[in-house]
Amino acid sequence: MMNLITYWPQLANGLLITLLLMLASVSAGLVLAIFMTLCSYSDKFMLRKSVDVIVFFIRGTPLLVQIFLIYYGVGQFEWIRETSLWFILREPMACAIVALSLNSACYTTILLQGAIQSVPQNEIAACHAIGMPKWLAFRRIIFPRAFRIAIPAYSNEVIMILKGTSLASTITLLDLMGMTQQLIAETYATVPFYLIAAGLYLLLNGVIMVIFKGLMRWSAIPQQSTQ
């Protein structure tokens, strides 16, 4: 039992990769989601339709299939292997980040669309009434409002990404899950290592929740206290 502690550098390494995957995917996914949400409100029919199609495809298929499609699938095409893109797409880390951020972007897009729908109509009408251009109204009124509405649901999405990073271990990445598997293969201490990994994942969960609690408190509209 005691010698499990000697494996902490490996576990810390795995945890670091999991964190890296998560942070990269969350930030890239958020940027992509905002872009896709804007596209889905554009005047161009093709732009709106293509966002719909991407979201439909990503939300309808398992993350594992998406990871495999990007990591194993892309190599099938000769022409991609000749471009400089190949330097990125043959790295499992990059593939996992691309897959995870695409995945989270699509779920977040739906979330943001829903949040924008629930921005009170009279606020949007007020923007029109004082002559705000569409983009300015979006930037100043609708988006900040929508973000506030979306934050609680978005915290779930971030936890989903954290859980999704464990699938990166299937494409040879030694994240927390992959490292756990490797250590188990070395030591045959199956249950203890799974329990350690479970504890670490729950800890990360807790950290995410605390961060979002803070974010919610920070972004809350100051209310007049009714006393």
Binding site: P62, L69, Y72, G73, V74, Q76, T190, A198
Partner: protein
């Protein structure tokens, strides 16, 4: 190119995928109902324990839960019985996915039961219904209506999660696609076919959930 043969194999794998998903759904529904009823038990510590287990399962990656049940439980049972115990991949998949489904479903059921007006249950009592009659005739039909949208979403999540059972060696659709991909060196084609089948199943499921929801709400006036 033995393209047709691979397609046939993938379709056979699809059946396994559906079988895992349906068994996990049934198991998960039971777990969810039990989980939801645990939250109404009077003993505070039992209730905390139930909530704790639900919280833990919801917070862990699906892959970890699956591996824990397939490899971890086998290790524990082997220790207990003193000889090697093998858990079938199918059973492990169903139990793991069912537990995950159940952990989320218990919240859905809890919300659905709480959404029923307390007056309904009181009316049942006043009419002299027994507890089980109240549950069967009054609570379940109405809770079902509130639970359908949530359960529908969970079913879609479950369907997509079934892909991970391929990692414990079950020959489901993903596994067949993997075999086809590595034999023909056309990974993109075959993973895309698998993605297409998942897309088809989820789209059909969404329609079925809509029908269920319409059927359950047919007495409701808008």
């Amino acid at each position: 190119m033995h393209f047709d043969g691979f397609i046939l194999q993938i379709l056979l794998g699809t059946l396994i995928t559906l079988k895992v998903a349906l068994c996990a759904l049934i198991f998960g529904m039971v777990v969810g109902l039990v989980g939801a009823s645990l939250e109404f038990i009077p003993n505070r510590w039992l209730r905390y324990l139930a909530l704790c287990i639900i919280f833990i399962i919801r917070g862990l990656p699906e892959l970890l839960v699956l591996f824990f049940i397939y490899f971890g439980a086998a290790a524990i049972l082997s220790n207990v019985f003193g000889h090697y115990v093998d858990i079938s991949a199918f059973a492990a998949g169903v139990i793991a996915l069912g537990l995950i489904f159940g952990a989320y479903a218990s919240q859905v059921f809890r919300g659905a039961f709480l959404a029923i007006d307390a007056g309904q249950v009181e009316a049942g009592k006043a009419m002299g219904f027994s507890r089980s009659q109240i549950l069967r005739r009054i609570q379940l039909p109405q809770a079902w209506r509130h639970a359908i949208p949530g359960l529908g979403n969970l079913w879609l999540v479950l369907l997509k999660d079934t892909a991970i059972v391929t990692l414990i060696g079950l020959t489901d659709m993903m596994n067949q696609a993997k075999i086809a991909a590595s034999t023909t060196h056309q990974p993109f084609t075959f993973y895309l076919i698998a993605a297409g089948i998942y897309l088809l199943i989820t789209s059909v499921s969404q329609k079925v959930v809509q029908v269920f929801s319409l059927k359950a709400n047919r007495y409701m006036h808008a």
